[in-house]
Symmetry: C5
Subunit: 253 residues, 5 copies
């Protein structure tokens, strides 16, 4: 679990609530249900127009990835690939068959299965690369929902504020209520800015980073499988794959 994202959300909300608490106005001055509905409902509605139902239904789970994601453990992935390479070197490619069930990384698993089943290296690479680009597209689709929510929330915030201003301006018989009317109108813009900058936009950014990290782990998996299949020495494979690690982790060899 990535504690940073949780701390970030709590810190951001804490700062906003704290500075309201320190301010001169009561909390109630910042609460307006219709404004909340226009911003959240509007952003969700616009996203519903943009994406198929399936993507929208899955998006809360995608958002949870921001908090639950664990950076892929590249070191143990490399270690496992090297062990598999040693087995293959010692006992032949077919000896891997019994070990495939224990492999966790899905690409290593399916790649080795294909190799054992006799696919050519080109065939294995083609299938694995297709798989990776299909995964990359799914990642992009997940990120795109957050991106659009982060773009439409402020837009509907502005729509709500414009509606509030028009209501206020078209009925100015009681000048003393102008301030309060304007305050309510601005709340929608505030909600849109908070929702976009505390949740959706940082979430989209994080999902992009998670995807880039997984792409590195998949590149390692593909290179590892192909190296095992072509019978490279475990030592050479390790050296090549460790290049993907940041220098600090490498020296911890």
């Amino acid at each position: 679990m990535d504690i940073a994202s949780l701390i970030g959300v709590i810190l951001a909300l804490g700062l906003i609530l704290g500075s309201i608490a320190l301010g001169s106005a009561p909390f109630s001055a910042f609460i307006d249900l219709p404004s909340f509905l226009v911003v959240i409902g509007g952003a969700v509605a616009a996203a519903l127009i943009c994406f198929p139902m399936k993507n929208m239904v899955g998006s809360p789970m995608v958002a949870m990835k921001v908090f639950l994601n664990k950076a892929p453990d590249l070191q143990s992935l490399i270690k496992q690939i090297v062990e598999l390479a040693e087995t293959a070197r010692r006992d032949g490619l077919l000896a891997l068959e019994s070990k495939i069930a224990e492999v966790e990384h899905p690409l290593v698993k399916s790649g080795l299965q294909m190799a054992v089943d006799g696919s050519t290296p080109e065939g294995v690479e083609e299938v694995l690369r297709t798989e990776v680009s299909a995964i990359a597209i799914r990642h992009k689709d997940g990120k795109a929902v957050m991106d659009q929510l982060g773009r439409f929330a402020p837009a509907y915030g502005m729509i709500g504020t414009l509606m509030g201003l028009i209501m206020m301006l078209s009925n100015m018989s009681d000048p003393s209520s102008i301030g309060a009317g304007m305050a309510v109108a601005l709340i929608t813009t505030l909600y849109g800015a908070i929702v976009a900058n505390v949740f959706f936009s940082p979430f989209a950014e994080k999902l992009g980073l998670i995807s880039r990290q997984e792409m590195v782990s998949m590149e390692i998996a593909i290179r590892g499988v192909l190296a095992i299949q072509s019978g490279e020495s475990p030592r050479a494979i390790e050296q090549k794959l460790r290049t993907y690690l940041p220098p600090k982790q490498r020296s911890a060899e």
Copy 2:
């Protein structure tokens, strides 16, 4: 039919109308025909300058794709390709001739026809790829109309508001009418924001997604046709093409 887009439009409009109904001002305060004409007319006029008449005439039908589009059924496409591959394996490529008429996917149809007619694999691939890139350009042109409408609607909204403000400011003999004048001026900006964020921008986004989905189905079709022509085993073709499916659909084999 993709119900999500319809729900999205109804939800967005419902939220906007609902929060007007809950507000202190009558509906009439939000209705102003000249403002509506400037925003919609202006956006359409600007799009007419940008695109040939043909694209503009076709754009309502393109917009309907947002609601009527059905995600391509990749599973049955793959199934059909595998069946064709079995026929070709068993009875030879020419045996496909009688089956081509039943094929629905246009690329599979024309690709197999060419293969049966004796084109080389390179020739088949060149024609199919050219076809796909021509389709991609037509998709982009369709999306571009929505993109520009979504960009010009708020711009003409601002033009309308500036005109309203100038009218109001150049005639301030009756101060009590200032509020109402400003309300009317803001309506144009509101219309521009609503039209762009409920219709044109999400529509453009959806059209982009639909196009990406169709591109996947076309890639499957091309790969399938070429694999059939090169005589690959139906089982190998199935395995390769299923890589394009999301994992859940794959396990439903």
Copy 3:
């Protein structure tokens, strides 16, 4: 001639003038020569800094392309290429020499001339591709002038409005003139928005589309010339080139 662009400009201007006519203020409230000079003059001045004199002098003619452009007639281009292929097939490549003078498309003309003169296919392709990329650069340069005018017009509109506001604010001895002063200040922003959204930005968009259309026609020309030179059958050439047509035009064969 592309009537859509003309209708678009007339419609946009008509809507703007119409809603002024319907409004409470006289036309004179929207006319301010210095504001007009700052916006148009400023945008032109900024563009003069950006581009060499030659590009600026040619830009009115480039702008006329928006209205006078005719979509390239791909069908008759393909028909002509097929006829040339038939001649070449029947009477040899050299028989084309007498027909080259009648060819309209400049790339087909120069490509066939080179082929007749004995250039290698690689040589012909290199020269034609260089030609196309040089044309693409000229198209981009033409579009860039419109893009920059569309970007600087609102910027100088804002400069004019800021100047007007400063004038007004630094001399508020007569409060009754504030409204009028502010109205005049806003006119410059209005002019900038109108000029950018009725003329320059849509013009730039249209020039991009025209360029993309011509690129398709040039791709057809290059492929056609190379196919003729390599002696492909007229029927195969036709089939290949028709792939570039939208499906409707194709079925009209």
Copy 4:
């Protein structure tokens, strides 16, 4: 010298000064030294943070290129390359040695020197291409300084205006001074907009165009050198290189 840029700057400044002169406020209302320092000083300070001292010291000279740049004379470059090709054809590659000193274009010079010294065509092309990409990076770095100045000037203009507004608002004991205070606050935004839109942004744009022009002349030089080295006929070289010229200049052969 490119007179257009000079005319552009003079025209833009003339329009701004002229409309101030025509206005109701004295010139002094538009002059505020601290505002000027915040905008110019701030933009320069931000650029100093972004770039090494060397790039900043060189940037005034880079800016002068906007005015002093002469479009490369492609026609005489091609003419010279063709003459060199004739010499090489007639008297052999080594006969070029005595002529290299007269060659002006640095890439032609160093490329031919390498060819005469016996480098392989691949070696010559590699060195020249590396050279060109290094030049392209230097051009980009020069343009980047102008881009950042054009981006930070309005940002510091806004910072100055915010500071002015806060000063004014925190001390409103004398309501009659509000207008003047606000006018001064806005001056900083005005300065930022003028500096960015009259100088930095158009300069950046022009530097990009100058770089693209030089890239074309370098491409001609590389192709010319390689063609001479491979012994192509002067006539073929001329035909190939003239493709880079706009059609009008070509017909002036």
Copy 5:
């Protein structure tokens, strides 16, 4: 150490503080702790959501690179490579083994070690290129933190200002306090603009430039190692690598 960045930060802060000192309001009018917390805390919180804890913890050190970075000394790098090439030419590749310990550049070091250990040129290049692209990704991740901080600081500045405005507007019983309330509200926007334009955005820009400079030095290292391994003459290597230097440094040969 790159003095320009330090001068830039001091100059920018000096200008801002100086123009406050020259202004009519006391320094205290510009100090508001809650506003500061919302802007800095909010930007950091949003960045915490975007990036793993590790990247955030490392970001102050990344920021210090802006000040402590020394441009890579390409001339001495080339000199060292040429010396190594001379040794390799004279005494064979294995003679480099004793010299590798003295080599500073990590890519030259590991590349030559691999060459001495008997890797093929393709193997060496693959490992070095993988290394460089991994470094490029780490550089991008470091820059991305600054980019996001520079994007979220103004966003949280706006959130703070909206909160301040709502507080002020919802409690306007004392009209004389409106000015002060608005001043406080604007301070948050001012802080966001200063923090973004003095620190985060220019820092991100500088980190991008530092990365591009290091990429050039790594390209030289890779080309140098491969040239040494393939036994090119020291003179040819020097000529090739010096192409990466700006012309002035080259003539200082």
